[in-house]
């Protein structure tokens, strides 16, 4: 039943996404701009890691795409709450987990599609990375999206207006991006910043994807990254499902 329910909810929202193809393209615009106008600045710079500048930058942009996109996914549910759609679904026998999973899997699909576009553009700009590494990168994008979209939906179910939601998410995502070394490796900075960044879960994810992009798969970074990503996703889905069950209580 969980599979049936999840597939139904996923299908409903996926059809909604396919109706707005422009949104799909515009979502990938910001990372593309970074790729076009920031990427060339790094060419030839010693970035302290293995691989060239594209192998450092593109993994960061992929996770940035997921971080900013999925964190704001909850906006849609605020609109749906106002339209009574969330309540209408909550009085059906559909599993609360499916109500969340159907939605976050749609987000994951959309962001992986956008990630594919981004990587194709990066390849055109000069990125060279092994296919398994690129696929691992997509896996991390999907897991991070599931985790962040679940938390975003949970927060959106608790707040009343977009005016409460937007600044809260911004206050969390911007420091997360800066402290995770998404744009440049944190090893380039002072030691205290590097130590601080290890407290950010996204740091471990970006290190893992950077390793995968240079063809190193059996590394501590990949292991920690995978553990953090899976752990975060499980925790976030649990929190999100609980909120779908008890919202309004």
């Amino acid at each position: 039943m969980l599979l049936h329910d999840t597939a139904l909810i996923y299908g409903r929202y996926m059809r909604q996404s396919l109706r707005s193809r422009f949104a799909l393209l515009f979502g990938v615009l910001t990372p593309l701009l970074y790729l076009l106008f920031f990427g060339p600045l790094l060419t030839g710079l010693p970035l302290g890691g293995r691989g060239d500048s594209w192998q450092v930058l593109v993994p960061g942009l992929l996770l940035q795409l997921a971080l900013f996109g999925a964190s704001f996914a909850g906006f849609m549910i605020i609109l749906e709450k106002d339209q009574g759609i969330v309540e209408r679904m909550r009085v059906t026998p559909v599993s609360r987990l499916a109500l969340l999973l159907g939605r976050v899997l749609r987000e994951a699909t959309v962001f992986v599609l956008q990630a594919v576009l981004l990587v194709l553009a990066a390849v055109a700009m000069g990125l060279r990375a092994p296919l398994p590494g690129v696929l691992i990168g997509f896996g991390f994008v999907a897991l991070l999206t599931v985790a962040l979209a679940s938390l975003s939906y949970a927060l959106a179910m608790r707040v009343r207006t977009p005016q409460e939601f937007g600044p809260t998410v911004n206050a969390l995502t911007v420091p997360s991006m800066l402290l995770s070394g998404l744009m440049l490796p944190m090893t380039l900075g002072p030691a205290w910043l590097d130590v601080l960044s290890h407290l950010m879960p996204f740091r471990h994810l970006v290190d893992a994807v950077r390793d995968a992009y240079v063809g190193s798969y059996a590394t501590a970074h990949v292991l920690y990254g995978a553990l953090v990503a899976v752990g975060l996703a499980v925790l976030a889905v649990t929190v999100g499902t609980r909120v779908f069950r008890t919202a309004g209580a």
């Binding site: 909604q16 339209q83 009574g84 209408r88 026998p93 309004g248 209580a249």
Partner: protein
Amino acid sequence: MTIISTAGLARTFRSRRGPVEAVRGIDLAVREGEILGFLGPNGAGKTTTLRMLTTLLAPTGGTATVAGHDLAADPAGVRRACGYVAQSGGVDPQITVREELVTQGRLYRLTRARAAERAEELARELDLTGLLDRRCAALSGGQRRRLDIAMALTHRPGVLFLDEPTTGLDPGSRADLWDLVRRLRDEHGTTVFLTTHYLDEADALADRLVVVDRGVVAAEGTPGALKLAYGGSLDASLQDTFLAITGRGPAPADAAPVAV
């Protein structure tokens, strides 16, 4: 036969200024196939009670069963047995009427073919046939309300909860909706649990009224019995009767009450 029963149903909210007892212990016995008007002034606990009975809100006290399913032990059973139309409706304006109806049927575990068939049946029953392939945004207020009700009837529930179903509708649409509610009772035996701010609506539609005030049942009976007991005669208006029971007028609605 009783289809909804509650005993001491209560809900206390926590707030920064301390606990707020929205519903302080409601005892109800709704008979199968009746239209029950659930009335009360603003803040009386109507919506909180409705949200508890539809499983949207967990009670903090008391017990309740809906169509034989215990609210606390079997919320999924309650959901299968009842339909709910919220005041705000619940359809996506960008989706077609057909798609919303079919998806709703699938959420109630109908097969794809059966859900499509049911969408056609409901469209015929609720006069939506020509609108099936229109987007919900293109519907008028009355059509939209009929669609909301069609969505709630997809799985042929024995109990239908309607929260302020005619707020904002023009007189013609209100009259159509009243007919529809009566047909549901007379032709399908559906029990209708209706909250409304319009006393003329309660008077015209409800077989029995329950008036809540400050989180408890203040009075209950047929409209005639309440008028006699609290208004002094059968000719008393329900407005005067309501004032005599609660000492306050009914909660204001979004639009002024319209006589039909």
